[in-house]
Subunit: 260 residues, 2 copies
């Protein structure tokens, strides 16, 4: 049995009552780990750089191992941008390369840049027209029930590439699940952490980091999933939210880690 | 600042998705305590006599100390009943003594006895007619944001009277808040713990335990709040759910505990 542990925290009351989203977390862990993971999430909710939460919702739910889908983690590349306009321009080019129409790529960046507050979930946009397809409003579509299969191998793999921060650890797992979903062409994301300006574009083949996707100090972030026209939204959101997914580091890297 | 920590656990999925209610808990504690209390609640959710939960929802919310109302704990008396019919008859007599009309007292007992599953919250019945007044369905009206002001003094006070179990510790705090609410005449409750057959009637002046309010092995329990006709239900549920209440042990007992 696995345990889906998920947390969302807000300031100024619950999200449902207009509180500001402070932090969220998703893990899928074994029986020996879930209580510790839950404790860490509660700790994190009250020690986030965006401020201390005054509302925390933690959910623990069992998930059958039989139902788990294994996928491979996307490889990472990084692109240094001189400033935010250059970073966003490069991100749009990457979206287009992934199969998003130019107007839709531009609409996606504008959608995140235009947010009045951070979203807990993502907006779903048509990769061809840029039109928003989901009706989840300010809440957005959440991605749940995923984790890394072997955390230590993953951390070693990230560290060998020079990536040590928590943001990338979590975002890459999420993006790998998102890009394995039916109909998803690409993902665009930048963080709501005011100190973290790096965002990313994920495509079916690569997770590309851009160092300057938002101004330093900005505490509004968000996510866009670009999907093919005629994607079955109900099926997509069901997969993203309910299908348990375990992400493995690429095979050669696992072997490398084992041989150490 | 105080922390309202509350947990609800179910088996067979979330409560909202038809899962069976396994356990719930409500605490209102200081900053130094809340993480430990949260950990204990998670532990309890998976080690309940009704079974292990496969869904747990834990909420932590800050509450200003300025807004806290202090009330005094109800005194306790116990009535041994030879069997369930005798216990329920005695409980109905106690309800009538508290100001509930005979037909309403009988309707209240029948309402809990007739439940098809345990409720997370309580039914609100008119103390005169016995008619159910709330529209919360199977969910029921919850009581939140209350705790005992001095836990050690409380445990000492209970122990000196021969009460050592967790059920009474929690139920008495809840009943003391409920009976301090505007319009409430009495409360009837028996537990969903299959091993615990004792239930209680709380009135404005006393909390009376009856040893046989349900058959041993029965895992369905529930609560009824009897209220005066024309009680403002919105005001009542707001008080029960949102008003932070700290319950103190009766004064002479506190002094006694201090003098030890």
């Amino acid at each position: 049995m696995l345990y889906s542990v998920r947390m969302r925290a807000a300031q100024g009351g619950a999200h449902e009552q207009g509180g500001t989203h402070i932090s969220g977390a998703e893990r899928l862990v074994g029986e020996a780990e879930w209580k510790q993971v839950a404790a860490e999430m509660l700790e994190r909710a009250v020690s986030h750089s965006k401020g201390s939460a005054d509302f925390i919702n933690l959910i623990v739910e069992t998930v059958s191992r039989n139902n788990v889908q294994e996928i491979t983690c996307l490889p990472i590349q990084s692109v240094a941008g001189s400033d935010v306009p250059a970073g966003r321009k490069a991100a749009q080019a990457e979206l287009i390369k992934a199969g998003v129409a130019p107007a839709a790529a531009s609409a996606g960046v504008a959608a995140v840049a235009g947010l009045q507050g951070s979203m807990r979930g993502a907006m779903v946009l048509c990769a061809k027209t840029g039109k928003r397809l989901d009706d989840s409003g300010e809440r957005g579509i959440r991605v749940s029930r995923m984790d890394i299969a072997d955390n230590q191998a993953y951390l070693n793999w990230l560290r060998r590439q020079g990536y040590g921060n928590m943001h990338i650890r979590e975002a890459l797992v999420l993006a790998s699940k998102v890009l394995s979903a039916p109909g998803v062409v690409a993902e665009l994301c930048w963080s709501d952490d005011p100190e973290y300006t790096t965002g990313y574009i994920a495509s079916a083949t690569v997770y590309t980091r851009f160092t300057n996707l938002k101004p330093y100090g900005c505490s509004i972030g968000g996510r866009v999933f670009f999907v093919k026209e005629n994607t079955d939204l109900a099926q997509l959101t069901d997969y993203l939210q309910y299908r348990p997914v375990m992400v493995k580091v690429p095979a050669e890297e696992t072997n490398d880690a084992v041989s150490r």
